[in-house]
């Protein structure tokens, strides 16, 4: 609490501050107006693209593109953003975290704009992950609640996992086609679809899209994200962020779409998601949760439409995209008002609010009618397009009609449950203290709901400026679709009438249906979230197992695996490089044979002896014999140093060993017999060193540096012993560093020796 108190003072209620808190909404509204100026250009079927170099070496540009799809998204993001920011300023008027929320929402808005405007897929991915991060912070806004934190983490993990897959998919696309620009990819669609990587790319990209857009079986994070404050849910988790996956599928449809794989994957996952989500929506008693499930349904329907992919399907997707964002954000904000004014979102505790909150009811009714798809609302147009699309689907029309029809009918019932049920009937206890919200909270949803009506009665405008340009971007070519309220009496109209009738019946039987669904849920059906919990628990168990297996706490294990890895790497390099060759051994003078033999014998003696005297003598012999080699081959100074150090070393070791345990105790384990495994490993690595060194000796030596030292040491440095000149003149700093190392080692050793010897109490672990 103290941390919060220090950073978030109760909102100052000064007049200036009250004006300032409207500023973010104003900014967003200006952006909305700016994007509106693009409408004529985009309506004419053109695109606007700007680009700056960013990482030119890797083909990554800061490139942005506005076409129909991007513009519709940008308008939704900035427009709904402005209204949500306005609503938030009123909804959280006295909350100490108001500014944190406003700033996070603003950051999210920028990230989301980046996702839809970026043409470069790498740039898009950066923004994509930024929306994930801001979503995490927003879902966990009530960070003092463990539940909110857990759900924020869940949303983060699910979408991040998908994001990783998406990145891999994008990289494959880029490597395959040589470009990361989404606008340039469609020209390569044949190359992509004929390559062996096509299936992998589709799976990876769709994993990213499905997790982000909450498709079955990854849908569970979205309802859980309702732990966020209501304005956040309205904005991120219905209108914008969760549509990022849909957006990307639409964006890549010209490059990846048009195949059987694309069709079946999107239609089946989208259809199943839509139907299951609408059933779950019926089950909910918390109105906000019910709306969350209808969002999942909408995302499923959009996915299915993109999968079907002919002109009417894409027009239907484009229309539904807009209409859903409008009515769903309005309804979410309305639920927020109910929650605030009546103190509950439970459908059973709400009733009879219509008299005291008629203005709110008006908004809810407008949005609800659009959601139910009644004429003359935009929702009706969108549903007509949807039905037109499914009845003309190129494959399995019956199946997609069933998907679309059952989902739509259940939507009617949920719309009624949200927009009718709380306002009619006998006033409940919650209704007694209810009243109209302040203007700032009402105006946002009112505009959104009103737009659903306005766009519906102006189908020609809506069609030519929003629906068709968007569908064009998704298709990659102009589409033919009639956007109108009246198509004559045809199959889609009959389906619409049937839908509404069925929806009303479901609404009337809602209590019974809910009871039955609750019973089924209690028996443990449909619990995809269990998969998440299972994965998370097993990931932790695996991490624990792996840590136990690798970090045994036994030094011998660590040394063993380090040595074994070294050997494996060494031999891999040798074999891969083809460095194995048999050297010609020249005849050597007897003295050299004697020295070599002596060193080998002494080394092995040190390794196998269990007498410390023999070991020390062996080490001394090795050191002095090596000094002999140095003498023979012209390294006088090295030999002198080696002799000096060797002498010192033997003296020090002899003194030190007097203080260490007696040999027989120290080497007690030796009596168990030789360690053949260790001996083999050592021999293999040793042989590797030999072979590698022989390979090095086969190459030509570059003597340029040596030649320079030889030529310069007398004229420039006035020294006749080239080695000495290198050490004290050319590379004097190295020598200085070497001295520093020795001094530090000496200081360290001195400190260790001077420390008072104290034996800690044995804790049972140090025996």
């Amino acid at each position: 609490m103290t941390a919060v108190a220090s950073t978030e003072r109760p909102a100052a209620s000064g007049a200036a501050e009250r004006v300032w808190r409207l500023f973010p909404a104003l900014l967003s509204a200006s952006a909305f107006l700016w994007f509106l100026t693009f409408l004529p250009v985009i309506g004419a079927g053109e695109v606007v693209r700007v680009a700056w170099p960013w990482v030119p070496g890797m083909g990554i540009e800061l490139s942005f593109l506005i076409d129909g799809l991007a513009l519709v998204f940008a308008l939704l993001i900035t427009g709904i953003g402005a209204l949500v920011l306005l609503y938030t300023a009123s909804y959280f008027a006295t909350h100490p975290g108001l500014w944190r929320l406003l700033i996070l929402l603003g950051l999210f808005e920028l990230s989301m704009l980046g996702v839809v405007l970026a043409d470069n897929l790498i740039l898009m991915f950066v923004f994509w992950e930024l929306t994930t991060v801001t979503s995490f912070l927003l879902v966990g806004f009530d960070h003092e609640k463990a539940d909110a934190r857990a759900k924020a983490l869940q949303a983060l993990l699910v979408t991040l996992a998908g994001g990783l897959a998406l990145l891999a998919g994008i990289l494959l696309l880029g490597i395959l086609t040589g470009t990361f620009e989404a606008s340039a990819l469609s020209a390569h669609s044949e190359l992509i679809q004929d390559s062996g990587f096509y299936v992998v790319i589709v799976v990876l990209v769709l994993l990213g899209c499905f997790t982000k857009s909450a498709q079955f079986p990854f849908h569970f994070w979205l309802p859980n994200a309702m732990a966020a404050p209501t304005p956040v849910s309205a904005y991120l988790h219905s209108a914008t962020m969760v549509k990022a996956g849909v957006y990307l599928m639409a964006r890549l449809n010209p490059s990846l779409g048009g195949t059987d794989l694309w069709f079946w994957t999107l239609v089946l996952f989208g259809g199943v998601t839509a139907v299951l989500a609408s059933v779950w929506a019926l089950r909910q008693t918390d109105l906000k949760l019910a709306l969350a499930y209808t969002t999942v349904m909408a995302l499923g329907a959009l996915t299915m439409m993109i999968g079907i992919g002919h002109d009417y399907a894409l027009a239907a997707a484009s229309a539904f995209l807009v209409v859903h964002a409008l009515y769903k954000a309005a309804l979410f904000l309305t639920i927020g008002i109910l929650d605030k004014k009546a103190g509950t979102r439970e459908v059973d505790q709400l009733g009879g609010l219509g008299r005291k909150m008629w203005a709110t009811w008006l908004v809810a009714a407008l949005a609800g009618l659009s959601m139910a798809g009644l004429p003359p609302f935009f929702g009706f147009i969108s549903k007509e397009l949807l039905y037109e699309a499914v009845v003309t689907a190129p494959a399995v029309p019956i199946l997609v009609v069933v998907f679309a029809f059952s989902a739509s009918a259940m939507m009617v019932a949920v719309a009624a449950a949200v927009a009718v049920k709380p306002f009619v009937g006998a006033p409940t206890k919650a209704a007694e203290k209810a009243g109209e919200p302040p203007f700032g909270m009402w105006i946002g949803p009112a505009i959104l709901a009103g737009l659903g009506l306005v766009l519906g009665v102006l189908p020609a405008f809506t069609g030519s400026f929003f629906v068709l340009p968007t569908a064009l971007s998704i298709a990659g070519q102009p589409v033919e679709a009639k956007v109108a309220l009246w198509h004559g009496i045809n199959l889609p109209l009959i389906l619409s009438i049937l839908t509404i009738a069925t929806g009303v019946v479901i609404y009337l039987k809602l209590s019974a249906i809910r009871g039955a669904l609750a019973g089924a849920e209690a028996r443990g059906i449909w619990d995809a979230e269990r998969g998440y919990d299972w994965s998370l628990a097993n990931l932790k168990r695996f991490a624990a197992w792996q840590t136990d297996a690798i970090q045994t706490g036994r030094v011998t294990d660590y040394i063993f695996w380090t040595t074994a890895s070294l050997g494996a790497l060494l031999w891999w390099a040798i074999v891969a490089g083809g460095f194995i060759g048999v050297p010609a051994l020249q005849a050597l003078p007897l003295i050299e044979w004697a020295i070599l033999g002596l060193i080998a014998f002494a080394s092995i003696a040190v390794a196998v002896t269990h007498s410390r005297l023999i070991a020390i003598v062996g080490l001394g012999v090795v050191g002095i014999a090596i000094a002999g080699i140095f003498v023979l081959y012209g390294a006088i100074d090295v030999a002198m140093t080696q002799l000096l150090v060797e002498t010192l070393f033997v003296v020090i070791v002899v003194v030190a060993l007097l203080k260490l345990p007696r040999l027989r105790t120290a080497f007690a384990h030796w009596q168990k017999g030789p360690r053949w495994g260790h001996a083999t490993l050592s021999a293999v690595v040793g042989a590797g060193v030999t072979v590698a060194l022989l390979a090095v000796l086969e190459t030509d030596l570059d003597r340029r540096i040596t030649t320079f030292f030889e030529q310069e040491s007398a004229p420039s440095a006035f020294g006749r012993n080239v080695v000495n000149v290198i050490l004290v003149d050319f590379r004097a700093l190295d020598t200085f560093g070497e001295l520093a190392v020795v001094v530090i080692a000496a200081l360290g050793a001195y400190a260790l020796l001077r420390l008072k010897a104290e034996r800690p109490e044995p804790k049972g672990d140090a025996r």
């Binding site: 051994l585 090795v622 081959y633 060993l657 384990h669 690595v685 080239v722």
Partner: protein, 120 residues
């Protein structure tokens, strides 16, 4: 001489690894000594060997006469010997100190940083 030395280096490395693998810190130290020697020889041999011709500039001349031993690896080895000695002296004191405090020179019994799990 070079191929023969390469084989000898392999033998020294094998002996030193065998010592280091034992887990006894005193033997580990012995292995470290052998390994430093082997490393020095690798550098020395890598610069190629020239028999009995130290890199000296005769009086009155400005460069060595004829083919002399490669001076560069010699300088490197010289540095390496001294550093190796510093490392060794410090490691020796460390082992001594560990024995004073923990009462053992067996690496596997030094479990202060990573105590045994309850089950183990």
């Amino acid at each position: 001489m070079e191929p023969a030395l390469a084989i000898l280096i392999g033998v020294i490395v094998a002996a030193s690894l065998y010592l280091m693998l034992s887990g006894n810190m005193v033997r580990f130290l012995f292995g470290l000594v052998l390994l430093s020697n082997a490393a020095n020889l690798v550098i020395f041999v890598g610069g190629r060997l020239t028999y009995a011709a130290p890199p000296l500039v005769p009086e009155g001349l400005y460069a060595p006469v004829g083919v002399v031993a490669n001076a560069l690896p010699q300088a490197l080895v010289l540095t390496a010997i001294v550093i190796g000695f510093g490392l060794l002296a410090f490691a020796l004191v460390l082992v001594h100190r560990a024995y004073q405090v923990l009462g053992t020179v067996e690496g596997d019994d030094m479990r202060v940083a990573e105590p045994r799990a309850d089950k183990g």
